[in-house]
């Protein structure tokens, strides 16, 4: 009898291990509140959209002193060139894959000449870039990534959340364009 109970228990624990691993690995695919999924499913491609209430995207525990803007991209046909001006006192940018994992991140100190210009390419486009040596290679931060699609998120620091200041202009005027130089 005791043996049988032990055997049942052991089998149960083994199954528990499998269930545990399965749940952890499957959450990124089936999470209900998943912020990255909301962005991927609602936002248009190659256009910065501000992630405030009107965008319908609900990011949990968002920083009240930061305004966010996201642009979805696909890298199959062309790279993506992001550039902006009207820089606020602090800003940062991150490239995410479609599951919300950070592929690349930077802040305004990483930027070249305090200018927002980022070129996201896949390895094949990177090889072409190296051969052609276009002007953008020197003026922009080149991010080489194996991901096929994803999104770039800009964060702009807002000192007073109720006041409209330069950070809004930064987010609204940022461009997200296919890069056709290669």
């Amino acid at each position: 009898m005791i043996r049988r109970v032990l055997y049942y228990g052991l089998c149960g624990v083994v199954l528990a291990g499998i269930v545990h691993i399965a749940i952890i690995l499957l959450i990124p695919n089936f999470g209900k509140r998943d912020a990255a999924r909301q962005i991927v499913e609602t936002l248009p491609e190659l256009e910065f959209v501000k992630l405030n209430g009107s965008s319908g995207i609900n990011i949990s525990a968002a920083d009240p002193f930061f305004e966010l803007s996201a642009c979805r991209f696909k890298l199959q046909d062309a790279g993506v060139l992001i550039d902006g001006n009207n820089l606020p006192s602090f800003w940062s940018a991150a490239v995410y894959d479609n599951k919300g994992r950070v592929v690349y991140s930077m802040n305004d100190r990483t930027a070249i000449g305090n200018r927002l210009q980022i070129l996201v390419v896949n390895p094949i486009q990177m090889a072409a870039l190296r051969q052609l040596q276009p002007e953008e290679l020197e003026t922009s931060i080149v991010v080489e990534t194996p991901i096929r699609e994803g999104f770039i998120l800009l964060r702009a620091f807002v000192r007073e959340p109720t006041q409209v200041d330069s950070s809004i202009g930064f987010l609204e005027q940022a461009n997200c364009l296919p890069y056709t130089g290669i």
Partner: protein, 193 residues
């Protein structure tokens, strides 16, 4: 009959244990992959390519977008300095200094991740540019339902809440590893029932 009992009991143990352990491993504040400083926990690998499955599952389930490693690091606290849960009907003093950083922000959130708003409509939050400091650059932020002098965050209610302190552009996320950072203390000041 015996096979059915075997099957049902193994399924019951497996699903219950597996589910509970998965839930605990991503829900506990001092969870896997975290660095802990007093009541504060941060997940330094959440913003990099080497993110572990637990940290990744956690941010997906929470519905947050993690900060990239070069953007900053966010510290979360759900308990006070003594390890008791943060409650909206209690008073706290957040006292001390933050690690070196260019900008930091501190905000209070309810359990579901919405920023807590006071009756006045002001959000319960501070940043490094609007907090009043002492001469040695340390500060005290008071969490209280009644108006208070100095840095005051109005929080009222009864539920649990959490504090998130985000350090933007901080050297503690650099490749040299996370050095033991100095974080402000969350000192309980009594509760109203």
């Amino acid at each position: 009959m015996r096979i059915l009992v075997f099957f049902l009991s193994v399924m019951a143990i497996g699903l219950a244990l597996g589910g509970v352990s998965a839930h605990l491993s991503i829900r506990q504040s001092h969870g896997l992959g975290a660095i802990n400083v007093g009541p504060w926990s941060a997940w330094p690998f959440v913003g990099g390519a080497e993110v572990d499955p637990y940290t990744s599952a956690r941010s997906t389930a929470d519905g947050t977008l993690p900060l990239g490693a070069a953007e900053g690091l966010s510290f979360e606290a759900t308990t006070d300095q003594n390890g008791d849960p943060l409650l909206q009907n209690c008073r706290y003093e957040i006292a001390g200094k933050t690690p070196i950083t260019r900008v930091w922000t501190l905000a209070a959130y309810s359990d579901d991740g919405t920023a807590i708003e006071a009756r006045t409509g002001a959000i319960a939050a501070f940043h490094s540019g609007n907090v009043v400091r002492f001469a040695d650059s340390s500060f005290i932020i008071k969490i209280d339902d009644r108006p208070s002098s100095g840095n005051w965050m109005a929080i009222e209610g009864k539920d649990r809440f959490k504090l998130i302190l985000r350090l933007y552009d901080t050297p503690i996320t650099s490749n040299s590893g996370v050095i033991d950072p100095e974080m402000p203390k969350i000192l309980p000041q009594g509760c109203t029932s």
